[in-house]
């Protein structure tokens, strides 16, 4: 017994006559292990197929992105064939983790940023109000664009650099569809594609009712990874349930589910389902050159991250860490995260539950992270700070205060 001090003793809480494990326990464990393996492969069993997709995508090359046609608008049926009606999506439906940005462009569209080290790649900053910025060479320039004749009031929901340095970004259009826009320079949309969704009117209350695409995505060597959401109830494989475990209506079904879809180029009309799926709400919060994607559930400090490594084996998945912000290292072997909103921690991904070590402590709440080379950019309390991933040295970036930040992403 550890010495907890005279006033603290956990001994009374222990079972001093514990039951000895017997054959029934061993058999129950074996049965659960079999179920776990089956479930893992049924949910993530597409990993092998995905590997083939990744290899094929790499062969085709992501360079084809910029050659895709201008202003392509393809619409295809949403992933779920459940009959749905074209209801507008509303903020309280909780399908977009960052809400409905109002997109109120700031007056200044080009500001100097001091403290920007030489040699850093461009940094994408998407503000909570949907305004999109790129910091490059000590200047921050607004890339946001309104839409002529369209809902200029809709800001961007999510944005990522493509390998060629252009940007793809999603916005909500008339609360009935998501547009994926291709921005090749500030205030210039070279192409648009609709990511359709419908709203299932009888979806379980309190859960996202979208059948179709969500707004977050990642772009990596494998192409564009999109999220297909399915409104519940969604029946799934039911694991072994001991008699002593209380069951609920969601024991063998989920109130919502998602699968991942890969398009070899962002404007390819159709993607390929990866076979990787989750039984709850998931959104991508980061990626790396190794095509790992973050999926999170929950809100605030209860956001739980899972690293989906499409080109790895399912057993390699890292999961369960909670926090306010997450970023993968460029090569995809480590994760930066803030478990409490103040500390920036680094952990390896080779073990399922590596808790990591603290690298830096922010003076206020961390709500965004991105990692490039040896630098991690941290959005905290409306400020940006560069933190060395090697020794934790920190440099504040002055002159540009993005406010609440939705997305940070370094160019390749």
């Amino acid at each position: 017994m550890n010495d907890l001090g005279p006033d603290l003793d956990l001994d009374p809480l222990r079972d001093h006559n514990p039951p000895e494990p017997d054959d029934r326990d061993y058999e129950a464990v074996q049965a659960r292990a079999r179920t776990l393996r089956t479930r893992r492969w049924s949910m993530r069993g597409g990993a092998a197929a995905l590997l083939a997709i990744v290899v094929a995508a790499a062969a085709v090359g992501i360079s084809g992105m910029r050659d895709e046609g201008e202003s392509i608008r393809t619409t295809r049926s949403a992933a779920n064939t459940t009959p749905t009606t074209p209801l507008p999506i509303r903020p309280e439906m909780r399908c977009f983790p960052h809400g409905f940005p109002s997109h109120i462009p700031t007056a200044s569209r080009d500001v100097a940023v001091s403290g920007w080290p030489r040699g850093l790649p461009p940094l994408l900053v998407l503000e909570g109000n949907g305004d999109l910025w790129v910091i490059d060479g000590g200047r921050a320039r607004a890339w946001s664009t309104g839409r002529s004749g369209g809902p200029a009031a809709s800001g961007y929901l999510w944005a990522q650099f493509a390998p060629d340095g252009t940007i793809y970004a999603t916005r909500l259009v008339d609360t009935t569809e998501i547009d994926l826009e291709h921005l090749t320079k500030p205030d210039h949309v070279a192409g648009t594609q609709t990511l359709p969704f419908t709203v299932k009117p009888d979806a379980p209350a309190g859960y996202c009712p979208i059948d179709g695409y969500l707004a977050t995505f990642s772009i990596g060597p494998e192409g564009l990874v999109l999220i297909n959401h399915q409104a519940g109830p969604v029946a799934h494989h039911c694991p072994y349930i001991p008699k002593t475990t209380p069951t609920s209506e969601w024991t063998c079904q989920s109130p919502e589910a998602v699968t991942f879809e890969i398009r070899s180029t962002p404007f390819a009309p159709l993607g390929t389902q990866t076979g990787v799926g989750f039984g709850g709400y998931v959104t991508i919060v980061g990626d790396s050159t190794h095509a790992a994607a973050f999926a999170v559930e929950g809100e605030g400090v209860d956001r739980t991250v899972t690293v989906v490594r499409p080109n790895g084996t399912p057993e390699c998945c890292y999961g369960g860490q909670k926090g306010t912000a997450f970023a993968l290292s460029p090569e995809g072997s480590r994760i930066a995260f803030s478990s409490d909103g103040r500390h920036l921690d680094l952990a390896g991904l080779t073990r399922a539950q590596d808790a990591g070590q603290t690298l830096w402590t922010a003076p206020n709440r961390i709500d965004g992270l991105a990692w490039s080379g040896t630098w991690i950019v941290v959005a905290h309390g409306g400020n940006l700070t560069l933190v060395s991933a090697i020794n934790g040295d920190a440099f504040n970036l002055d002159g540009f205060a993005p406010g609440a930040t939705t997305t940070l992403d370094w160019a390749s």
Binding site: L10, P21, A28, P242, T245, D340
Partner: protein, 149 residues
């Protein structure tokens, strides 16, 4: 008999012991121990070398998750059932309130009785970091458990 089968009784007891301290219910602790050992079996090839600390850590986290779930449905609890030990309730409350890493350290160090060096190895950090988190976690435990006296 393979390695897992050989170590099964010992690891099961450790998982059960940690789970019971947290949940205070034999059936529930047994259920958690079974789930922990099942997960261990699935990951055995990767975690066999540090199976004991891995087991207590997973069992502890499953137990905390179980308490968290139970809190959500407590409004349907039958009132005639005797309530849990107040000290255990305080411990549960303290564990739920701890940041994940402090909670891991508390479970490994003070509930599973692992030496600091083993805790550090398990969590992939230095002994100094373990001491820091242990100190903070222990402080929270003192407030929670000491305050109940």
């Amino acid at each position: 008999m393979d390695d897992f089968e050989l170590q099964f009784p010992l690891l099961y007891r450790r998982a059960y012991g940690v789970a019971f301290v947290v949940v205070g219910d034999r059936e529930e602790a047994r259920d958690i121990a079974q789930e922990t050992l099942a997960r261990l079996h699935v990951h055995w090839g990767k975690v066999a070398e540090f199976a004991a600390p891995w087991t207590v850590r997973v069992a502890g986290n499953l137990a905390v998750d179980s308490v968290r779930r139970r809190r959500r449905v407590r409004n349907v609890r039958v009132e005639s059932v005797p309530g849990p030990d107040p000290q255990r309730v305080d411990l549960q409350r303290a564990l739920l309130a701890l940041p994940r890493r402090q909670r891991d350290v508390v479970i490994l160090r003070y509930i599973a009785d692992l030496p600091e060096a083993d805790v550090a190895r398990t969590l992939g950090c230095s002994v100094g970091t373990v001491k820091t988190h242990a100190s903070r976690g222990l402080g929270a435990l003192r407030v929670a458990l000491g305050g109940s006296r």
